[in-house]
């Protein structure tokens, strides 16, 4: 039976190996969330428009992204981005672009449901007030859709945070990688993987508790 020894994980070790990775994981989550929601909203509006030259490409994009494993999407972008821009791009930058474009597909499905949950009368009221399409969407529909969907958007973000560990496939230095490198250097892989799991668990679990609280509050306001 192996005895566990966490003694080597001193604050100095944690800050030199793990902190950098944790910061990158959070950065990646945050950028992909903001970019993904923005792009996803555009995709959702495209899919809900009445013009087929807008709906078809948006639907194709979303369905393609959603039917490929994320690891393969990460590998695809890591292969294609240098071919397109003509020079190699670091694994971290490639991960940020990939996750933003990939998550946009998932966020767009959430926003589409959110927009469809707004009664038609709201749109009609906007037009009746003399607003144009853009104004109706920006001032009336999207704020309500966004608020209705906030818990779901945040739950997707927790999944996104967990999925950032998959940048392992292209060797980007994230939270998991930080623990892995520390485990290799101190020859303590069992302990480092355990601590990594606990840290991911605490982060995701407390975030999902917060989302649950928020959901109750939003439900009361309505």
């Amino acid at each position: 039976m192996l005895t566990l020894d966490f003694g080597f994980l001193t604050p100095a070790v944690v800050s030199s190996y793990v902190l950098k990775g944790f910061v990158f994981s959070l950065q990646l989550t945050l950028i992909a969330m903001l970019g993904g929601i923005a792009l996803g909203t555009v995709l959702a509006l495209m899919r809900l428009s009445s013009k087929s030259w807008l709906t078809l490409p948006a639907a194709a994009y979303v369905n393609t992204m959603r039917s490929i494993p994320l690891v393969m999407v990460i590998l695809w972008f890591f292969l294609l981005i240098p071919l397109i821009i003509g020079r190699p791009l670091g694994a971290e930058m490639s991960a940020i672009i990939t996750f933003t474009l990939f998550e946009a597909a998932y966020y767009s499905e959430i926003m589409r449901a959110g927009i469809q949950s707004i009664p038609r009368g709201q749109v009609a009221a906007g037009y009746a007030l003399g607003m144009r399409y853009g104004q109706t969407m920006r001032l009336i529909v999207l704020p309500q859709a966004f608020r209705n969907m906030l818990p779901v958007l945040l739950t997707q973000t927790i999944i996104l945070f967990q999925d950032t560990s998959l940048v392992y496939a292209i060797g980007a230095y994230d939270l998991l990688k930080g623990f892995e490198v520390a485990g290799k250097n101190f020859n303590r892989p069992v302990e480092t993987y355990l601590v990594a799991a606990v840290l991911y668990f605490i982060t995701s679990f407390s975030l999902s508790m917060l989302v649950r609280k928020l959901q109750q509050r939003i439900a009361i306001i309505r």
Partner: protein, 247 residues
Amino acid sequence: MSTWDWQVFCKDTIDGEIVPRCFGGAGDITYLDWLLSAWGWTLSVSLLALLVALAFGSLMGILRTTPHRGLVLLGNAWTELFRNIPLLVQIFLWYHVVPALIPPLRGVPSFILVVLGLGLFTSARVSEQVKAGIQSLPRGQRMAGLALGFTLPQTYRHVILPMAFRIVIPPLTSEAMNIVKNSAVAFAVSISELTLFALQAQEETARGIEIYLAVTGLYFISAFAINRAFHFVEQRVRVPGMIGGGH
């Protein structure tokens, strides 16, 4: 950009010579052989993990709807545990940590560990769906069962579960498709499945686009086949007059 070179799949994996008819023989392996064997690994991991996920997920989902607080707590704890740790980290736990802490598991092949890891990760999601399915039934169904003198297990067996499982087939379909996609993480512990093939063959042949296209296509076909299989089951078990049922 250069032109397509699909001949890459006919190459021998050792000397890179193009083999006529693309399939190697007598100990030689072409990239096409390797691709197909990798597809086999992806399918085996996915299907076995699906069985694990359905078994444990259904059990935990059912426990969470019973009137016993201890069982509800067990089901909730199970679900939160397996839902809040990233799949890749769970795979590493099964591969590096579990055998180190539990010596009898030391000789277990990594294929089995990945099946357990992927299966139990997905069981948390299945448990959510099964719980929601059971709770979507009118409460009178359970009361009627108990009032007829059924014990609680009998009520589940004959009254609640036959309807609940029919209701959850559509969400379980997407979980089953997710398993095929998620099986890609098995590459991280050197299971020779499609993603590992993609990584290694891309490096060896430098024909990344052709290799990735083939692998992506096979993932797509696999997920679609699972979708059709579940759809077939859904049609077969339909109850006329019930939700989504025919007439």
